[in-house]
Amino acid sequence: MYLLQLFNGLSISSILLLVALGLAITFGLMKVINMAHGELIMIGAYSTYLTQNIFKAYLPASMFDWYFVLAIPASFAIAFVVGLILEMSLIRFLYGRPLDSLLATWGVGLVLQQLARSIFGAPNVAVTSPSWLDGGLMIMDGTLLPYKRLFIIALVIACLVAMYFYIYRSHEGRRMRAVMQNRDMAACLGVSTRRVDAMTFAIGSGIAGIAGCALTLMGSIGPSLGTYYIVDAFMVVVLGGVGKLVGTVLGAMGIGMFNTLFEYWTNASLGKVLVFVCIVAFLQWKPMGFVAMRSRSLD
């Protein structure tokens, strides 16, 4: 039984991680809190929904199962573009003003949600999962690991690995880390911080899109899909600290696992309270989260 709970915890952690990944990067890099991140997830989910509809309408039924393979890059691309537009039109005015960026992007989120409601209608819509993700892996009697959840975990790992290589092994990533550690110095050395910021924000948004795509496997989707995850995802960032991927991974694992366990032991509402208490208690010990970058400046 605990094995199943463990698996559920892992599954929740992986979704949280996917949602928080983009947030952690944008916050770490530009000190911008993007409350519209949840709506980018929603955009990713609706992109998947549209891809599905297009397959249904124009392609033979035998091809239908493969729509999901296309939906992942499509969600990424659409969220990427929306993120890029958002960054260029609004976010760049808000660098280094985390609280203001939080409020402004919340406004953006509100508009995007309402837009989705106008286009797709307020009720939730269902996305049919491809049949190859039905069923699950039987590891022992009575313990079934659904393929969908396994797929999400694999997807998250793939994203994580891709991000790792992007950040730590590519030229773009090196520039990004340079800007993150010392914006002025990087600018002096000829790094176009504008470009790095825009790219990073767009990539963070793209990952949110993938998260939205993954969420379609878990249930029906609606305009306020993202809001369910956004606060938890922010808690991951708070718990994990900023600046390093490993912090975000640990934060997501911690919250996802404890959430599942506490909810299993008590009930859903009490479980959430306990997780919150644990997070606050943890912050008493490490106020800056798992990983923290030290700086010598006064403020």
Binding site: L90, L103, G107, G109, V231, V238, K272, V280
Partner: protein
Amino acid sequence: MLQQKWTPQRIWLLVGYAAAAAALFSAPMFASDFRLNLLAKFLAFAIVALGLDLIWGYTGILSLGHGIFFGLGAYAMAMYLKLEASGGMPPDFMGWSGLKELPYFWKPFENFGFAVAMGILIPSVLALVLGYVTFRNRIKGVYFTILTQALVIITTTLLVGQQAFTGGTNGITGYSTILGASLGSADTKRVLYWITAAVLIAVFILCRYIVGSRFGKVLRAIRDGENRVRFIGYNPAIYQMVIFTISAAIAGIAGMLFVLHVGIISPSMLGIVPSIEMVLWVAIGGRGTLIGAALGAIAMNWAKSEFSTAYPEGWLFFMGGLFVIVVVFMPKGIAGLIGQIKFRKKRKEEDHEGIRNPAV
């Protein structure tokens, strides 16, 4: 500054305040019962806005959790009203959940004084505890803000989840009397309106005193540079805790008044969205000016009640857009805009730096 000189400016300001207070108190003579009830609700919101401005505008701490403090005050009052309506018997929703006995923590709420005390005390203590575990460890800025938002989520989940004790999603409604007076009668409503107006003025005066005192100056110093304050010898954590607690208590008072006028409190009225809307009122009115925050709350809610029923979709677009515009282009709100025009000349002489000092 504390020098009390009777400059013409000061006299005009006082005359203005007196006129505003007179207008507030005489409103029942002009407004219909319906309008008066709406206005009373807005005044309750203006009280929250004042408390929120104390911590956001003056101290630089953004709380997205004021809906909770407001809501806890409201629930305390609602529990009293509900018990008065049911005559001390377990309220209807408890029966639906199969609860036959009145829970022990409900019992004392039969007493009006106790309920009012709790409506102030519970939000204050919660704020004090949260402030203690965060400010002491220098968890601040967005980290603090996110924690307050998480507090909103867990409190609303708890309120929804513990249906037998809290009325769940429906909240607590169906009141009849307060201290024996019928809540439905126009006379009671008028008295409640006056009480709300008086409380608003009292809270306003209290906030004026706080921001004008040396304590208030330390708060502004914390906003400008928390660490520097520390090296002067103040402990910013204590100051932040105290002002956060005061702010929460004010929100609790506002919540109690709100229930009296609206007649219902439910988790959806204190969730994420209402909490952040409160911040919007202050942002639009002008953070860092008390009168701006109060007027912002009244104006925004008036606009909302005018437009949101007629154009529900348009209203959300409008609100979202307003958020973006205010934060990006008018960080000091309408009051700041007026101030900017008024003092443009003076500021030109002064500087280029201090103004662009976001509350972070």
